[in-house]
Symmetry: C2
Subunit: 234 residues, 2 copies
Amino acid sequence: MQEIRSPRELARERTMAEIMRLAREQLASHGAAALSLRAVAKDLGIVSSAVYRYVASRDELLTLLVVEAYSDLGDAVDTALKRAPLAAEKRFVLLARAVRAWAIAEPARYGLLFGTPVPGYHAPAGQTVEAGTRVVVRLMGIIEDAWNAGDITASPTVPSLSPGLAADVEALRTEYDLNSPGWLIARGLGVWSALFGAVSFEVFGQYGPNTLSDASELFELSMRVLAANLGFRG
Amino acid sequence: MQEIRSPRELARERTMAEIMRLAREQLASHGAAALSLRAVAKDLGIVSSAVYRYVASRDELLTLLVVEAYSDLGDAVDTALKRAPLAAEKRFVLLARAVRAWAIAEPARYGLLFGTPVPGYHAPAGQTVEAGTRVVVRLMGIIEDAWNAGDITASPTVPSLSPGLAADVEALRTEYDLNSPGWLIARGLGVWSALFGAVSFEVFGQYGPNTLSDASELFELSMRVLAANLGFRG
DNA sequence: TACAAATGAGAGCATCGCTCTCTTTTGTAG
DNA sequence: CTACAAAAGAGAGCGATGCTCTCATTTGTA
């Protein structure tokens, strides 16, 4: 299945990869909203208008960065779960740690994915949505496996769902072919947002300047509480 | 304590308030990073350089908006808790709903507070930090009252804290004069971040385009789970 | 080798934050 | 009531930004 690539295509791909690399650098050093096509062109040794031969607009470059970042985050999570132990709680904690570690290592790219939507920019539905679901799909997979293995204790509280939520969850269940009960899926969504809430607070500095000397310990505790919310059998 | 205000001061305050109003409008319509001093000046019927008589820089205007937004959010929470019932869980849910309602009504200002830090902008420690603590102080107050009233059941899981976290929590306890045990305070911090995680996911559209027809029901469920994490007695 | 496509250069437009100088308004002190 | 100083606004200008247009050059290939 080796695609035949002409020298032209190869050169184009190299330049494109270089543009992405420089854009990633700028993103990391100056932040998402300060990403400048002119600066990328200058770093590339190219005049600003020439970069439009490769990227249609600044927004398109942002979209490429978003998709790439989602992909890298998904890869980081997959790698962490690659040869992980079977216990659901442990797998959940590994997933959570992988998200946190990636976010701390790449705060600007994390902010691009989970921070304020950049002004005027709307992600084209198709490309980004699929890439963005990898983490939650993995999370749901862990929950699903635990449920099927009987490793989830019965719902401690609030087992019944309101009708609208029940319908939404039912749609998710059919779309992703899930076997878990509705209340578990709904809790999974809540745990999902709570996980990213903890990571965002830490990465975005919401805990304040001097309140936490070691946020990782609070994170570990919170993840254990979230795991308990899912009813994972100890 | 009526300050004597000269006509000059009054005119200045009026203009300043007008600048803030127009800035708030721009923030809402075009997003935080697109906030433009020149556009504010134009809306005000003033040339761009004249606005620098009132605001030293774009960053200073952003700081003013941040402080004002924190203040409004704090007011919204305080109002919701004003004549609230005494049950801790109910008070917690009221606080959570107030945060969510404010965030949905003012997504751009919410993003200014809890989204990606704006590029190059660093909040001056003094002004913003104090304003930013009002919600978590209220949350801790609810927890504290419940604990003192004996309305919190013993820690279901993970009662002991790792040493670093224990030290951080101890510092918080003395600073805010809290009586609650360390594990409860730590859980409060986790619930705090989880609450804002849920709100951010909804406001920033992280749940995806078609996954939730009514996010409020998922929110209600998640808040009940978080309340249970705090051990509030039903 | 000759041609066409791909690529780059350069000028230009409207916008931005911000600084500088100059003019006008405005409150107030004498 | 008038004269003056302080405050406020006007305008030009600097170095940026995203993006478009036209023109020149490079480059693979037929």
